[in-house]
């Protein structure tokens, strides 16, 4: 994920830097309706990377990675797309590699 203001490219979040995980081959990104968090689908990691967002600056801070096969997570293999519910209570992911 790359976040850049017109005069400031220092906001970038890159896989493997500063503890950021789950962004390999990032394919999709969504902002929660409350503006507090950003979610990215990392196709190459079969993972979703979670960031908290500072509204005034847009700056992101890595919070969490959920990944196929870790802590019981299933259905994220080669994740391609994600969406939040309007009430903010859920994240839904479509993963092309998720086969029985």
């Amino acid at each position: 994920m790359y976040v850049a203001a017109e005069t400031d490219s220092s906001l970038a979040q890159k896989n493997g830097a500063n503890g950021v995980e789950g962004l390999a081959l990032a394919r999709n990104v969504k902002v929660s309706l409350d503006g507090r968090h950003v979610y990215a689908a990392g196709f190459g990691n079969s993972a979703i990377a979670v960031f908290s967002r500072t509204a005034t600056t847009g700056k992101l801070r890595f919070v969490q990675m959920v990944k196929e096969g870790v802590n019981g997570v299933s259905g994220l293999s080669d994740v391609a797309s994600l969406e939040l519910s309007p009430d903010g209570g859920n994240v839904y992911a479509a993963a092309v590699g998720s086969v029985p």
Partner: protein, 175 residues
Amino acid sequence: MTVFARNANTGMLSFAEAHKQGINGVTGLNYAYCVAVSSDGLNVYAIGTYSNAVAVFRRNITNGTLTFFEVKTQGIAGVDGLTATKSIAVSPSGEYVYAAGRDDNAVAVFRRDQQTGALTFVEAQKNGIKGVTGLQGSYAVTVSPDNQHIYAAGLFDNAIAVFEVGQARRRAVRR
């Protein structure tokens, strides 16, 4: 199709469940490529590129878990425009669902039952038919916030096709 519960304060996700092609009667999810949630929160729609289909789920508004409801598949009951589908969008009003069919160079239009979320096929807008251009390799579709226009990305046309809702006709193509 994977469901996570979201902690609104921390943003952290907790795995809830996964719905997979061929398990517990779920179909239409082969190569699940895109997902959309209706604005009323009652349904989740996902497309399976290799299924040429839209899978319809009903959503539990208390915990967000899903129940498979139905599937709309290319070539069945008159459904068209879903071959190698790559994108799905629900209109903000919740009245329509649109899917981009890459290999049909098309946008498939469904009317949505706002009580059940069930879909009824309306039409397929196809490249080269009735003046439609810019839809070659139809790859992504989105709806304007006022529900009045549909925008579709034509991967192989290097274009965006613009449709006016209700008129069911192409207005312009931006390249």
